[in-house]
């Protein structure tokens, strides 16, 4: 059933406007959220969703406009004020403290003086009852993105807010975890709580949301009942035109193609007490194909990516081979010089230096491979050439930004991701390894990135994609392997793969993976 529309609105927003320099991020936004409804906020990257939500949570101050809470005009001047009103938020870019434990992180957002141990017990109980299991004593720095999000959600729920804002909560959850979350949200709705739900996954918006407000270029372009719409019609409203479906032509003769990336018996001890050891992983990625690696967050994907990209070196130099050369002992730059390119999961601080301009970030990752183009005689940086190249990437990937060459941190998550992927694609690498290519990226941009990866492989490169988004993997992969507890299954050709088969492997249904012993023997 849809929400109680005649009931009083919990939150009313009228004419909310926020201007950054020359960019009007939010332009006279109107939004009503009724009590006990799940309200979707839809829009592409840079449509102004995050800005709007930040104003509602008090971390940004609007230039004009009014906010009414239970019919009373309010000014939300700080996150503290928002919390006092009863607004809770689960952030897209997590607001956790890495050097503290999960329980300490939760304690910080609660105002009562109860001891950490009792908060830990409460958090553990709550997390299990909502099916989002959490170890309160683990250090956040050691947790995967999915596990961190659980902390954020539990932390928000412990504050018992009236309105919960969720900024793309399912983008890092497995289908099962997402189902649990939806149960939680429905339970909260039945308790009379309101939820503002931001997501790019239109299917889930259709599934759980009562009403939707669609933003485009900072303006409200429509309100609708998502249940009466199709995913395609919602996407059209968001983007303003049709979203191109990803096209993947079948590849032929792949068995005879040269493997460009070979992983042979890769084994790694856990780096910290909380991380996952890698157990005898073997995988070939041939020229012309896309291999997808599925798996629940925190099953060794991060450790695997680090080993392949050269963030961590291997004892056995032959355990990673790029274009037929042993690369296990080479650094990231060494592996790049062999023709490989890498896109890590974390954008800020890993994929890009947050406080540096896009052009500077371009130079940082490509100074070695494109030395001739970007660095002149005597090591002088050719800033003109770098600027031109960064503008070329921005154009090719349709990166939306508020300045000609902004700092990386000034871009929204999806736009930064487009730039980072574009930066590597621009090199035409023969081996491309991407971890979570479209996490938090909207439908239009995600389709763009996926199509680009497929095209790269069809032009003769080997592409390895690690993702928690099964839809994505089925869309782009020629074969899917599953990572569970540090072990990798044999890649399953896409023609034979089903959600069910992959889902079972993700849950660890086939321990040992007998096929492996055949390969390594």
């Amino acid at each position: 059933m849809s929400a109680n529309h005649d009931g009083a609105n919990l939150l009313e927003v009228r004419g909310l406007t926020k201007i950054f320099g020359t960019l009007t991020a939010c332009d006279h936004i109107d939004l009503n959220i009724a009590k006990g409804e799940i309200h979707a906020l839809l829009g592409e990257n840079g449509a102004g969703k995050s800005t709007l939500v930040k104003m509602l949570f008090g971390s940004l101050e609007p230039n004009s406009g009014e906010i009414f809470w239970n019919g009373q005009a309010v000014r939300i001047t700080s996150p503290g004020a928002a919390k006092k009103l009863g607004i809770g938020m689960v952030f897209q870019h997590f607001s956790l403290f890495e050097a503290l434990t999960a329980a300490e992180n939760i304690a910080l957002s609660l105002d009562d003086g109860s001891p950490i141990s009792s908060i830990a017990a409460k958090a553990r109980a709550l997390s299990y009852s909502y099916g989002l299991p959490l170890d309160p004593d683990s250090l956040v720095g050691d947790l995967s993105v999915g596990e961190r999000q659980r902390i954020e959600i539990i932390r928000c729920l412990l504050q018992t807010p009236q309105l919960i804002i969720l900024d793309e909560p399912t983008s890092v959850l497995t289908p099962q975890e997402a189902d649990k979350l939806f149960e939680t949200l429905e339970r909260l709705r039945s308790e009379g709580k309101s939820i503002l739900y931001i997501s790019h996954r239109l299917e889930e918006v259709k599934r759980i949301c009562d009403r939707a407000t669609v933003l485009r270029h900072g303006k409200v372009v429509g309100h609708c009942n998502p249940r009466e719409e199709t995913a395609a019609s919602l996407a059209r409203m968001m983007v303003g035109n049709e979203v191109q479906a990803v096209v993947r032509a079948p590849v032929e003769g792949i068995e005879t193609a040269q493997p460009l990336l070979e992983v042979r018996g890769l084994t790694r001890k856990p780096a910290t007490p909380f991380s996952i050891p890698l157990k005898n992983i073997s995988l070939n990625v041939r020229a012309g194909e896309v291999i997808g690696i599925a798996g629940v967050a925190g099953n060794g994907q991060g450790e695997f990516f680090e080993s392949v990209s050269g963030e961590v070196l291997q004892q056995d130099v032959a355990s990673v081979r790029i274009r037929g050369k042993d690369a296990g002992g080479l650094t990231i730059t060494g592996r790049r010089l062999l023709g490989a390119a890498f896109v890590p999961e974390e954008r800020l601080g890993h994929g890009a230096a947050p406080r540096m301009k896009l052009s500077e970030n371009l130079l940082l990752s490509r100074h070695a491979t494109d030395g001739k183009a970007f660095v002149g005689t005597g090591g002088m940086v050719k800033s003109g050439a770098i600027y031109a190249a960064s503008q070329r990437i921005i154009e090719a990937m349709d990166v939306r930004k508020s300045a000609p060459d902004p700092e990386a941190a000034a871009l929204s998550g999806g736009n930064l991701q487009k730039f980072i992927v574009g930066r590597e694609l621009d090199r035409r690498p023969s081996v491309m390894v991407v971890n979570q290519p479209t996490w938090g990226v909207d439908a239009g941009a995600a389709a763009h990135i996926r199509q680009a990866l497929i095209e790269l492989s069809r032009s003769g490169s080997a592409v390895l994609v690690i993702s928690q988004d099964l839809d994505e993997l089925f869309e782009i992969s020629d074969a899917i392997a599953v990572m569970h507890n540090g072990e990798l299954s044999k890649p399953m050709p896409i023609a034979e793969a089903t959600f069910e088969k992959v889902g079972l492997l993700m849950g660890g249904a086939e321990p040992g993976h007998a096929e492996h012993t055949l390969e390594t023997a």
Binding site: F57, G58, S59, L60, E61, S78, P79, G80, A81, A82, K83, F91, F94, S95, L96, F97, E98, A99, L100, E104, N105, A107, L108, S109, G113, I116, L139, G141, T272
Partner: protein, 306 residues
């Protein structure tokens, strides 16, 4: 026996100002602020403490004045770096330079004047126990303050909710702000606490260690305190260990020089620095613990975007 006790007593006296200044700076850095002005705040405390003691005749008034002077001087740093978001390194350095110059000017009339000394706090009965009595129960009051302060800071940082909040701000001020924690207010209070500690440490120099005023009498102790905090990987008990190792080797090499050991005196003078660094590096080998204890947002100005 008496010589050993006396040597141990001088070690405690040498270590106390380092410990107090370093513990203060530890709290400041745990909140994510790097105040390189410790030396300047210390010397201001020293001149303020000496002046107030000399003018009133009461060393206790002097000690309070030293604390107030350090706190007041650190307020200047707080306004600059926290409210005006200036660069912390540059502001801290200029605070030291300003403190050294200003204290020299204030102290021109005090040079060569007899100072007042804070009396030792002999605890009746206990202080007459041989050896231990003198060491543990017959010291100057600031020694006791330094030990209590270290324990209190340890308890505050790791056992209280407010301490947890303070550490979280040092880890990520953006996350803390997003949770509605008043980052700037916490940092103001931390910086002022650090200033008060540095002032107290300076007061110890001019009211206990050498009860007189000499220009530049801190002689780089503020810098040593700063280094101790980093090498102790922001952990209070390690700061205590570091301060006492430094004090012990410092006093030891003075005696070695007096005995005429055939080693160049410059070598001996550098020993305390070397020994402290080596020992603290050895106890900070655990990379994971060091990573956990390093305030990630140290030295970054915080400007909430509005």
């Amino acid at each position: 026996m008496d010589i050993t006790v006396n040597i141990l007593l001088t070690i405690a006296t040498a270590a106390t100002p380092l410990l107090i200044a370093a513990i203060g700076e530890l709290v400041v850095e745990r909140s994510g602020v790097l105040n390189l002005g410790v030396e300047g705040m210390m010397i201001m405390g020293a001149v303020g403490g000496f002046g107030a003691g000399y003018l009133t005749g009461s060393p206790w008034v002097g000690l309070l004045a030293a604390i107030a002077m350090g706190a007041l001087f650190s307020l200047l740093f707080a306004v600059m770096t926290l409210s005006l978001a200036t660069n912390q390194v540059a502001t801290g350095l200029s605070l030291t330079l300003l403190g050294l110059g200003l204290s020299g000017m204030i102290g021109t009339g005090f040079v060569g004047q007899p100072g007042v000394r804070l009396p030792n706090l002999d605890i009746p009965g206990l202080s007459s126990i041989p050896v231990v009595g003198k060491l543990l129960f017959g010291q100057d009051p600031v020694f006791y303050i330094s030990i209590v302060l270290t324990a209190a800071v340890m308890w505050f940082l790791f056992k209280t909710r407010t301490g947890l909040t303070l550490r979280s701000i040092g880890d990520s001020h953006a996350s803390a702000h997003a949770l509605g924690i008043k980052v700037i207010r916490y940092r103001y209070l931390s910086v002022i606490f650090g200033g008060a500690c540095a002032g107290l440490a300076g007061g110890h120099l001019s009211l206990v260690y050498t009860p007189q005023w000499v220009e530049n009498m801190t002689a780089g102790r503020g810098w040593i305190a700063l280094a101790l905090v980093v090498f102790a990987s922001w952990r209070p008990w390690r700061v205590l260990a570091g301060a006492y190792i430094f004090g012990a080797v410092w006093i030891g090499q003075l005696h070695a020089q007096a005995f005429g050991i055939p080693v160049p005196s410059q070598m001996l003078s550098s020993l305390p620095y070397l020994a402290t660094v080596v020992v603290l590096v050895l106890i900070s080998r655990n990379k994971r613990l060091t990573m956990m204890n390093t305030p990630a947002s140290l030295g970054q100005p915080f400007v909430p975007d509005r």
